[in-house]
Symmetry: C2
């Protein structure tokens, strides 16, 4: 339901960049920040960070709230929880297959 495989890949891709991952970690303290604040945090130009934030926003990982001339971004952890569940389902699927294999081998 939540999201098709393509959407999941998009979210993984959004997290698959060191700068964006750093942004997510920075925002994981629940404190929203302006683009300039985030830019100085990761030591990169404002526009570069703007692009990264747009990617994260498209993936649904962050939300934008414009206040006056500032654009404050905050983390939306719901997708992260979805992803964690998904990863666990994949690895659980694998574990079950291994269990069946062991049972099969054990039962001679």
């Amino acid at each position: 339901m939540a999201s098709a495989a393509r959407d999941k890949a998009a979210i993984f891709a959004a997290l698959g960049d060191p700068t964006r991952l750093a942004l997510v970690e920075t925002l994981s303290d629940g404190h929203g920040r302006s683009i300039s604040e985030l830019a100085s945090g990761v030591g990169m130009s404002r526009q570069a960070v703007t692009k990264h934030l747009k990617v994260l926003e498209t993936a649904g990982l962050v939300a934008n709230d414009r206040i006056g001339r500032e654009s404050r971004f905050a983390l939306d952890p719901s997708k992260l929880n979805d992803l964690a569940d998904y990863l666990q389902s994949v690895s659980r699927h694998w574990d079950e297959a291994i269990s069946r294999l062991k049972t099969f081998l054990g039962e001679d």
Copy 2:
């Protein structure tokens, strides 16, 4: 410990491609397969799949075992579990921040 932020980003990037995600899901049944089998599964050339598998192997998500002239790939779910834990730690970090904020606001 387990892996630095850059490694995590690499793993996310490895999963951030629809083809590679499909390969991982295919292999999640615990059954190793040859490159040609996987290629026909995703409807792509053998070399393209070879490249994808190399990316997944570099990220530590799959392991290669050459038998005769076949190269069988199988999933290694340990990294997936690591990632799931990581995602949950990030979102939990966020949840805690929100809880503190609510407490702060609630206590007047």
